[in-house]
Subunit: 335 residues, 2 copies
DNA sequence: CTGAAAGCGCTTACAG
DNA sequence: CTGAAAGCGCTTACAG
């Protein structure tokens, strides 16, 4: 509702029109504080009729709150799976919305956190969720020093950080175990970057599966050197020379390149070699043959993370580490 | 900088410490209004030293501004290319940031605009960019009625809407022309949804190319019926019966399904039939053979859109329709 | 149950 | 060139 001068009506206008005080109107809206049932109804009715909408900014100022949550997305070109972040973001937004919070989105290149700093310093948000962190993470250090509420989706080695993640270690252990049980003993593990905690978790899970199965892991089949970055091709050559049963990829970006390399060499999947990925993304969605992989519910991750951040903002106790379940999805590529 | 009680220091603290008025401090910071050079420097120095940061919320309230822009992303599962929106979003965020604006992100399912309504009604943003619109668009109607500044990325038939788009019509005309010049006369056009303006533009460009080339278009080769939605497969069968030179797909999601269908039928691309898409996305990025398509710079679209919205918010004149260039990228699939 | 008043942290005419 | 004061639109002790 607008007044003649083009401004929206305020709580003061409502109060005037009804011959009550602003306090009363405020109480009727918020439901806080004692107020007569009848007065409240009168106010509510008037508000409804005249389409009054509270100004969230003013409310925020008075309460020293913003009702905004900052989510920091990664922004490099190297990101494996945008879609995952996308879905996670949806989960966050969806649950934030249900309690009247909005999402202030920003990006973070490597360790340039200027944008995050500006948003936090300017008091534009009540809390933040970091969608990706590094082993050495400027975002975490900044937020901890500022003392602002935040959670991390994914895992980190930093202390006292609320983190929500899928159980990658256990997931990778399970997938590897299944492969071993299928009598695929010689598994080559290909991955590009050890700079993330998740990569380490995956590797640990991989090793655990071998140990549990009582099988010996051939360290010669581990291709984790970051120098392989552009040379997956070369790695594939070496792998093929070493007589492997299966190629396990750290993620789909890697898997995609491995598959391409195999195709070029006319190596058939799964006949000549099996392939599986520790990660499922849309990259391989339409791949023929379909690729065995782990499946994670990104949206649920977002939902849980957001809920926890909201609790944190409200001053509630929140457990430091939450692990979400996963699924192993067996497809043609490991038949 | 924090005070003992945990609150951040305010303009009043600075004023007190320096023995000047809040007015003066405010002026020193904003650069507005007359102020002595020396006093300004004193203030600035103190601020720097004590790491004072203005409270954007308070500033916003005083100025009736928020320094936030709302970006509305589509949220259906049917969206063709998330990546495009992603990159566009990056462009928007990037340019907003340079002038101290932040992005409030929300999603819009089909025509459920409740989330957008809440954000606008609560005065949480100064303007909005709609990333996708429908022929009948609740978002546009709502924003127009509210009289709030907004721009649209993409095209719409609504009047008086600032829109920034790639020149799809001309792009599709050019790609089609090139195919015709390669003597690929019998081109089947496959698309799923006519509910968007862009689909119409593409179709127009397609027809124009035929007209310009003086070739007759076989209407039997147009597969645009939404009923094909799940039946691309069937369409491909019919296409193959009709002796076509090339299959032109409205977008990559369609192209991807068409290619899959061809593969299953052992039809070779480009030997047996050529394939091209009116759109380039990551879906087909690693496809073998590589697919001829149009290429659009999503990030630039975001940048331009944001700049125009900012102008609009500042009350500047802005041209209603802006068309951005494109590229035709010829690849193996039409060799 | 209700209200006057102070306050959230800024900006901005207005006066000097 | 500088400042006192009012105002942005809410909330919230405090008093009645």
């Amino acid at each position: 509702m607008e007044k003649e001068d083009g401004r929206d009506i305020t709580i003061a206008d409502v109060a005037d029109a009804l011959g009550v005080s602003k306090t009363t109107v405020s109480r009727a809206i918020s439901g806080k504080g004692r107020i007569g049932k009848e007065t409240r109804e009168r106010v509510l009715e008037y508000i409804e009729e005249h389409d009054y909408k509270p100004n969230a900014i003013a409310k925020g100022l008075a309460q020293s709150k913003t009702y905004n949550l900052c989510v920091v997305m990664p922004r490099d070109y190297e990101v494996v799976d945008w879609n995952f972040f996308q879905r996670c973001l949806f989960g966050i937004q969806e649950t934030a919305e249900t309690v009247g919070y909005d999402i202030l989105l920003t990006m973070c290149r490597m360790n340039d956190i200027s944008s995050l700093e500006r948003i936090v310093d300017n008091h534009k948000v009540d809390g933040v969720v970091l969608m990706r962190t590094f082993l050495e993470d400027a975002q975490i250090e900044f937020l901890q020093q500022k003392g602002i509420s935040f959670v991390v989706t994914g895992s980190t080695n930093y202390e006292n950080v609320i983190q929500i993640d899928h159980n990658h270690r256990s997931a990778c252990r399970e997938l590897t175990s299944i492969l071993l049980m299928k009598n695929l003993k010689r598994i080559a593990l290909v991955g590009e970057d050890e700079g993330y905690v998740v990569t380490q978790s995956r590797l640990i899970g991989f090793r655990e599966a071998y140990r549990q199965a009582g099988e010996k892991l051939d360290e010669e089949l581990l291709f984790l050197n970051p120098e392989n970055r552009v040379r997956i091709d070369k790695a594939v050559n070496e792998i093929l020379e070493r007589d492997v049963d299966c190629i396990l990829c750290m993620d789909d970006a890697v898997a995609s390149r491995v598959l391409k390399a195999l195709r070029q060499r006319h190596v058939k999947v799964p006949q000549d070699v099996r392939v599986a990925s520790f990660y499922d993304s849309t990259i391989l969605e339409n791949h023929v043959p379909s690729i065995t992989s782990l499946s994670f519910d990104a949206k649920e991750l977002g939902r849980v993370a957001c809920r926890m951040l909201l609790d944190l903002v409200e001053g509630l106790e929140v457990s430091e580490k939450t692990l979400l379940p996963y699924e192993v999805v067996l497809k043609e590529s490991t038949k």
